[in-house]
């Protein structure tokens, strides 16, 4: 593989001296060329279309691997004996996941930006029909009979239950926030749904995530398994075999209430899996008591960011976990896992950084951004989906060695944007590989919590995470507006205060910024296709302009004046009341609100956190008017 613009980044541990040299060189180059200098050839180079494989499922006979490619809006069929792509079918926009019918004859592909599921005939590899879902479909699975499809709607925050005979939606079940992956239990009795974001709690509390359990007989929510102090629940896998029955769910464990001054020893961020033994609850059971234990997969001096894909070998002996932001596959010996669970209390385990060396028996290097892993039915081979390499890594399971790489047919060159995206997902630029940009910006968005960054009132004035979607024209950055551009935001300052490392070199920084600027806004689900406002939205629009909201949130610049204002939202320990005006695009996707994440909903901005009418004169508004204003804001 050839880099189009710059040399490949080293795969091994970054040495400080080398980084210092690179950094110094970057500074010199930066001064000489100016902060917006472009590498030769970047402007006129044709933009190749990457595949960006994000998920895969294997056919029941183990012959084919179906790969969902989100940037190509397509699904590929890989013939596993020959390890070649043999078919390709176009689906909707931003496909995210795939389910295979129990008989293997039908594939269901979720199209996140089309709000549909493509139904594909696996023999002809053609789309047979398209089903409507809720907003932002992602994970999905059929029931055991293949008659019902469960689809997690990441934007609607619910689960569509579709009748596959009629294609109609039977019901929607309330999920938490950003439901992500859907897994049918081995006995077919339950469907598990993970959520990327946690409950909207007070900004002073640790996040609580949730694994939703759906009873497939009643098609109702049987239980909501709470997993405290974690975020970003990803894939779900159920252990097979007589010792199985438990689930592994990768997670991120943030300590966002701690000041971000010391990142080692698991002080700020760790990565691991939840071990969950479901209670086998019936709908509405009064006291389902699923057991949840948390295990870290980090080593004390080396972290493995972005725990994402997970799969068991058919005999249940090993569990494979991908680390999307560390280009690594960890292999867990489940016998050792059981011993660990037996020997160390559940109260201690979530913070023990010596667990991985007890239970992880292999660490295998993959290609960039491994988001998913599947194991062949014969248990001899695993396939890792390398999202930012357009490839699969083939793993020999008995030996746990890399057997090869399957090229899915993406472009051979790496553009600046592509390298920027790879950097975004690369934790090696952080001390001990603790986290990447993507760690706190899952899906280029928010993690939904407020962080204790290295701010003046250390440990007390927390700031909420801000989205990266559609921010290219919204400078300055940072809540205090002190960063005039993204190069400053993502440059040496972030390296020093967040990554605790030398950070990116000049070229890398430029490519990273180019990528961030390219992150698009998703479609607006609250605005009609023809742009016509509803009566409530229209009334809200009138209020927006009558109240002068457009003074600080002008429509012509993404509803931000690109300045800081004091609107009376400073908290007790804030040293300044001046905060950068946030853009309002897709505001409904970004709770919590305000600089410190105090406002859990749009309504709270005005009902609770505007007591002196400094954030607009709103105290004279009726509840009806506030509702209308909120409805209008959702259309932006």
């Amino acid at each position: 593989m050839k880099l189009h613009l710059s040399a490949p980044t080293p795969q091994g541990p970054v040495r400080s001296s080398a980084l210092v040299s690179v950094c110094l060189l970057a500074v010199v180059l930066s001064l000489a060329l100016g902060s917006r200098a472009q590498a030769p050839g970047t402007r006129n180079a044709p933009s190749p279309s990457y595949l960006t494989p994000v998920a895969a499922k294997i056919s029941p006979d183990g012959i084919k691997l179906y790969v969902v490619c989100e940037d190509a809006d397509a699904v590929l069929a890989v013939d596993l004996p020959t390890q070649r792509v043999i078919k390709k079918v176009a689906v909707g926009h931003k496909p995210k996941d795939l389910a295979v019918s129990p008989d293997g004859k039908t594939l269901y592909v979720s199209n996140e930006w089309s709000d549909t599921v493509s139904v594909i005939d696996s023999a002809t590899f053609q789309v047979r029909r398209t089903l409507a879902t809720g907003w932002g479909p992602r994970g999905l699975t059929t029931d055991r009979a293949g008659k019902t499809l469960y689809v997690a709607n990441s934007i609607g925050n619910d689960v569509s239950v579709l009748d596959l005979t009629t294609g109609a939606e039977r019901k929607r079940l309330t999920a938490l926030r950003s439901p992500h992956y859907v897994q049918l239990s081995r006995d077919g009795r339950y469907v598990y749904v993970s959520n990327i974001l946690a409950h909207l709690e007070s900004a002073d509390e640790s996040p609580i995530s949730e694994l939703m359990v759906i009873d497939t007989r009643a098609q109702t929510v049987a239980e909501r398994i709470l997993i405290p102090e974690v975020l970003e629940l990803r894939h779900v896998a159920e252990a097979p075999g007589p010792q199985g029955g438990y689930l592994l769910v990768p997670f991120l464990r943030p300590k966002n209430l701690n000041p971000l001054i010391q990142v080692d020893n698991g002080w700020i961020l760790t990565h691991g899996v939840a071990v969950i033994r479901p209670a086998k609850a019936n709908p509405g059971d009064t006291a389902p008591h699923s057991q949840v234990t948390q295990l870290l997969l980090d080593d004390i001096d080396r972290y493995y960011a972005g725990a994402d894909g997970v799969a068991f070998t058919p005999d249940g002996r090993y569990a494979l976990v991908t680390h999307a932001d560390a280009a690594t596959l960890s292999v867990i010996d489940t016998k050792l896992l059981a011993q660990r669970l037996h020997r160390v209390s559940a109260a201690e385990l979530p913070n023990r950084l010596d667990t991985a060396r007890q239970i992880v028996v292999h660490r295998l290097s993959t290609q960039a951004n491994p988001t998913d892993v599947v194991v062949a039915p014969n248990g001899r081979t695993a396939y890792v989906v390398n999202r930012l390499d357009d490839s699969l890594t083939v793993v020999d399971i008995p030996q746990f060695q890399i057997r090869g790489r399957i090229d899915l047919g993406g472009p051979k060159e790496i553009t600046a944007l592509r390298q920027g995206e790879q950097l975004f997902h690369d934790a090696k630029f952080c001390f001990q590989g603790q986290f990447a940009c993507a760690t706190c910006h899952p899906d280029n968005h928010i993690d939904g919590v407020a962080w204790n960054l290295e701010t003046p009132q250390l440990g007390r004035d927390r700031v909420a995470n801000r989205t990266l979607r559609g921010i290219a024209e919204t400078a300055p950055f940072k809540w205090n507006g002190h960063n005039p551009d993204l190069e400053t935001q993502c440059g040496p300052r972030i390296a020093k205060f967040l990554f605790h490392s030398e950070g990116f070199n000049h070229q890398q920084l430029e490519n990273l910024v180019a990528f961030i600027k390219s992150i698009p806004l998703p479609p607006n689900r609250h605005l009609a296709a023809d742009g016509e406002l509803t009566a409530s939205q229209d009334r809200g629009r009138t209020i927006f302009f009558q109240k002068g909201c457009d003074t600080c949130h002008p429509p012509e610049s993404h509803y931000t004046a690109k300045k800081s204002f004091d609107v009376g939202t400073a908290a007790k320990y804030d040293t300044s009341g001046m905060f950068d005006v946030p853009q309002l695009d897709r505001i409904y996707e970004k709770p919590p609100y305000l600089h410190n994440g105090e406002a859990r909903t749009l309504e709270e901005i005005w009902t609770i956190y505007n007591p002196a009418d400094r954030h607009g004169f709103t105290s004279d508004m009726s509840k009806e008017q506030l509702n209308d204003l909120v409805e209008f804001l959702k259309t932006l």
Binding site: V221, G284, D285, I608
Partner: protein, 376 residues
């Protein structure tokens, strides 16, 4: 066919205080066996505001929490410590599709789903007011009756609409109850009569007392009997809605009003908290007992406890106004009735002193109502 204990079967077991021959065709169904749930057997509070039935599960909203009753036992009590937004649970709606409960409380609206409470309050959502009296589901909308108007919550988009004195033909905002009819939603407004919302047209139509008098009923069957409406129900069998007021009961069939006062019918009292319907029967929850009218036969039955004997009393008022009184060994927990719900042939009654379960003849020990019905 609905079955319950009939008078013929009761002759040997109950004492008839005043024997009146009743024709078989006019014989009403009676509940002679009651079991009561009070603080003595696990209820968190004596006062029960609301009750709803979901198969074999019975949910009760009390002045101190939400109660789940299964197999004739209090199985679980949920309080504010469990996440309930307020101790007073005034209304319950069961989403039959999702299995979720929607709860009206005096501290906001709550969705009870998968064992967790998701709460909505006026400060953090589009809820009109935190004093919520009732909830009802209509397709993908949740209707919420509050002390400051009516909310319609779109469960798909999250949009909150408010209908109040500013946006609907209501001169009082206190909305007490909601019933979903066919293409219509009915709201009981305390002091404002009944509001009917046309779902397709998106407009409101008010029904108010034509005589405009708060103290007297001047035109008995020419309109709603009184503007202080505390409850509303819709009968899908007869296509009628029935309103509970503090001055009598009103029914409307689309053409004619059918109004009832305690002075000229078997209604126990004109002070009515709620109405519910089943088949031809209209039930009125009054401050002096539980009454029901068989609309087809114009026969009334009232249940009330006898304070002196502690036993139950059933009063049957035939169309010719003759009254039959029957004493039963068990009775309602109290004569102040707040609401009721049906469980097959059984009945669950919310009273000021406990939740009462009226057990039908078809209800056998260890046999579900569904099984009992199937066997008939």
């Amino acid at each position: 066919m609905r079955t319950a204990t009939r008078i013929r079967g009761l002759l040997g077991t109950v004492a008839l205080l005043c024997f009146v021959p009743v024709l078989a065709a006019q014989t009403p169904m009676l509940y002679t066996k009651w079991e009561n749930f009070t603080p003595a057997n696990g209820m968190p509070d004596a006062k029960v505001f609301s009750v709803a039935v979901d198969g074999e599960r019975v949910w009760a909203g009390t002045e101190n929490g939400l109660v789940l009753i299964t197999n004739s036992k209090v199985a679980k009590v949920y309080t504010t410590a469990d996440g309930l937004p307020n101790r007073v649970v005034t209304g319950i709606a069961i989403d039959k599709k999702t299995g979720d409960l929607w709860l009206a409380t005096f501290g906001g609206l709550s969705q009870f789903t998968g064992g967790e409470f998701h709460n909505y309050r006026s400060m953090s959502s589009g809820l009109a007011n935190d004093i919520v009296y009732a909830v009802a589901l209509q397709d993908e909308f949740l209707w919420v009756a509050t002390a400051a108007g009516i909310n319609r919550f779109n469960l798909r988009t999250g949009e909150w609409s408010i209908f109040s004195e500013r946006t609907a033909p209501m001169h009082e905002p206190w909305s007490y109850a909601i019933a979903v009819g066919e293409g219509k939603v009915y709201v009981a407004v305390w002091g404002g009569g009944i509001l009917e919302y046309d779902i397709a047209g998106g407009y409101w139509k008010p029904y108010t007392d034509p005589d405009g008098e708060m103290e007297i009923v001047l035109f008995k069957n020419q309109g709603l009997i009184h503007d202080i409406v505390s409850g509303i129900s819709y009968n899908h069998d007869t296509k009628m809605f029935w309103a509970a007021t503090y001055f009598g009961m009103s029914g409307y069939d689309g053409h004619n009003w059918h109004n009832y006062l305690s002075t000229d019918s078997g209604l126990a009292s004109d002070f009515i908290n709620a109405t519910q319907t089943r088949g031809d029967d209209v039930w009125a929850c009054t401050d002096k007992g539980l009454s029901y009218l068989n609309f087809k036969t114009n026969t009334w039955v009232t249940y009330r406890p006898n304070k002196e004997t502690g036993k139950g009393e059933i009063l049957i008022t035939s169309p010719d106004k003759k009254v039959t009184s029957i004493e039963t060994a068990t009775s309602l927990a109290h004569n102040y009735i707040l609401n009721l719900a049906f469980q097959g042939d059984d009945i669950w009654v919310a009273t000021a002193a406990g939740l009462s379960h009226g057990i039908s003849q078809s209800h056998k020990e260890g046999t579900s109502n569904e099984q009992a019905r199937a066997s008939r």
